[in-house]
Amino acid sequence: MTASIGRRGAIAAAATLPIAAHAQSTDPRRGGTLVTLGGTTRHVNPAIQSGTPAGIPGTQIFASPLRFDDKWNPQPYLAEKWELAADGKSLTLHLVKGAVFHDGAPITSADVAFSIAVIQKNHPFKTMLEPVETVETPDPQTAIIRMSRAHPAILLAMSPALCPILPKHVFGDGRDILTHPANTAPVGSGPFRLTEFKPGESITIERFDRFFIPGRPYLDKIVMRIITDPPTQLLAMERQEIVYNSFLTTVRDAERLAKQAHIQIIDKGFEGIGALNWLAFNTARKPLDDKRVRQALAYLSDRARMLKVLQAGKVPQALTPIHPGSPLYTTEVNHFEYDLKKAEALLDEAGYKKGADGTRFKITIDPIPGTVEATTGIAEFLRGQVKRAGVELELRVSPDFPTWAQRVAGQDFDLAIDAVFNWADPVIGVHRTYLTRNIRKGVIWSNTQSYSNPKVDALLDAAAGEPDPAKRKAEYKEFQQIVVDDVPILFLHPFPYTQAIHKGLKGAPTSIWGPMSPWDEMYWEAAERR
């Protein structure tokens, strides 16, 4: 027995989405250039790295087997239909007929098999395709992914940002994929082809006329300009030198741009990425090796007030390791609401009584370099909060990412403020932070907290291979409850990402992957086309 979804059903479903309906109502037409903000990236091949700077251009240049709507439903893309076996151990993809790469070569199942092998071997998210054993290619239009066990994350792993289909005849020439010259001058399979890549300056892509979805994309050209200075980014948006900022990072900036008559702010499209801001505890160090101390610090943190002060009360709290936008998120966990008495009692119980000077102990905090309200502002706020219970917090400001990363990856920290993405399915972006076997000194965004709980390891392993969605959800609920209670990390808030877009530009990507999905539906209203 198989579960099958086809293009027709998906189109009917898509018609109910607000953006799709909006796009239909204003009669999208071809033409025009979109100037947007880009990020500095080493290359544009998302098969071998994650992150938005490569992912946003990468998802325009490469197509993937599936794409997703804003309700977490898979939609046809390069695969016009697919079947996931009832035991969850195989996924069959039926590719669109007549799809070609940017050099005109046909896209076949051999390219799918090649791409999956490349991703499995080289992408940093090792758990994403871990159970994949083989990819069979019975005919040029069919690829069957065989897995050693059920792997519910496999559908999300077929997303544009995670599974770009690479041309085997270009990337499979025997050269090392990590340094392959085609990473910066790729032959792609997506709606746009790369025409200019100027690292640190701009990326230009143009419409691929033989894209496999008839009539798409609508835009002629997209220029991703790299402007690193945040005030200049805002001014450029106000002056319409930039007409789309797909990753606006602060509430303050969103409010400023919303006042412009020509700009619209969209707060959808970031559920898949699932960015969380959190406070990590080094559980291998005293006094943070004691769960009671970590819980006491959680009770002292007063996140509600912190968000009111720093984010004008416009950003919700994150309570668990899973992003609030995920269907697996639960609020049935310890909320650690501010409680000074309980915190002091826990610290006393742990043996950290106040000294003659009123101090219990001194620890450091390392905020990741970033916007004040999401990094140093939080550290300053926490310093005042924990001092009430006699805890001295010393702020260690890193001048740049390498300095911070060296401390955190080297596990040379007490507390660290960090921004980490869920990447849609917990198997892809959540497990890495909590699994005991992923404690790897020197590796950033591994289990740098040195957190170890056998029950959590067992739950994560079980959920990774659980084909029954209800059972899986229950396992992740228990996982969230245990981790929140153990406090290897205190979850602060989801990142308040928004998209700022010129009002004349329609069809903004608002699926769960938002800007990290194809922009083939974007178009200029006739009167605004430029």
């Binding site: 100027k198 690292p199 300009r225 590796v443």
Partner: protein, 324 residues
């Protein structure tokens, strides 16, 4: 000393200086905290221990520092500045690509600062107690005291936002063909604010310097003689006094070339000007040592060249210097 002997001696000094710059920069950069492999892994979204070891081996980061230095010096001698960890391209190509925009910005700023600064200095020196002299004095203090990034932001707010006359960022409009007179005008339009920002602080210095030089020159006997001979005031000021008053300004301008390049880092970042300064900023943030070393080498070369030109100009302006 003949011009040829002077030139050869300066070239030998320059070679020694370049070697010292290379070694010192290499050591300083590698002493800074932060591992390029962690940065690359960070951009990748994390990486396994094996991938990080592979990255280190790929770029020779697993070798002892002395070996890395010797290998680097060897490559530089053959004209190879290495491969950028972060920008994924040969450093020579990166630097060559960015050199033009920076040279344009820096040269424009220096010319602007020299011409306007000198003119303001003359204006102030001709009537030392006049209103113009007071205004020049206020401008000099303010221009010298204001940090370059602040000046940049203020000019942006004023002339790109409140009065939207100039563009906010970049070197040219996106989509415009990059050739012809229209393109040159577009670049010029984009150049005004960054060049003005960079010129501001030096304009202030040069105005003070030329004012002082001019005051001294105008009080000299030969100027009194010139006036007694009945020469017109403009001829006296611009033909006779200015030539002597300019010598210290030229010297300072030459010495400050390196500082102007350093200022370009901030200006290029604020205005997204695609030059070496912005590349340097990005390279520092990402511990991209080959790129940073290449930029510093390029900057050192430019500074040495500027100093050579300054000395040559000095010899031209003051015949007494030709004997040294």
């Amino acid at each position: 000393m003949s011009a040829a002997a002077w030139f050869i001696r300066r070239l030998i000094h320059a070679a020694g200086l370049l070697l010292a710059v290379l070694v010192l920069n290499f050591v300083l950069i590698h002493l800074a905290p932060g591992d390029p492999a962690v940065v690359i892994a960070g951009e990748m979204g994390g990486a396994s221990t094996e991938v990080m070891a592979k990255i280190r081996a790929e770029y020779g980061l697993d070798q002892p520092l002395v070996m890395q230095l010797l290998a680097y010096l060897g490559r530089v001698l053959t004209g190879d500045l290495g491969f950028s960890f972060y920008f994924n391209r040969p450093v020579t190509a990166l630097v060559a690509e960015r050199m033009g925009p920076t040279a344009l910005l820096v040269a424009s700023a220096i010319v602007l600062a020299l011409v306007l600064g000198t003119w303001l200095g003359i204006l102030a020196a001709r009537r030392p107690r006049g209103l113009a002299a007071q205004l020049v004095s206020v401008f000099s203090v303010a221009g010298f005291a204001a940090p370059v990034f602040w000046t940049g932001m203020m000019l942006l707010l004023l002339f790109a936002s409140t009065l939207p006359i100039f563009p906010v960022s970049g070197m040219a409009d996106v989509g415009r063909p990059k050739l012809g007179f229209a393109y040159a005008l577009d670049v010029l339009h984009h150049l005004v604010l960054p060049a003005m920002t960079l010129a501001m602080v030096y304009m202030a210095q040069y105005s003070r310097q030329s004012r002082a030089g001019m005051l001294a020159a105008l009080a000299a006997d030969y100027i009194r003689t010139a006036r007694a001979k009945g020469l017109g005031e403009l001829r006296v000021v611009y033909r006779h006094a200015l030539r002597n008053a300019l010598i210290p300004v030229i010297t300072i301008a030459g010495l400050q070339f390196g500082q102007v390049l350093a200022g370009a880092v901030l200006v290029e970042t604020v205005y997204s000007w695609p030059g070496l300064g912005r590349l340097a900023y990005e390279s520092i943030l990402r511990r991209d040592s080959p790129t940073l070393l290449g930029i510093l080498l390029g900057s050192a070369l430019m500074v040495i060249l500027a100093n050579l030109l300054t000395d040559a100009a000095y010899r031209l302006a003051d015949p007494r210097m030709r004997g040294t």
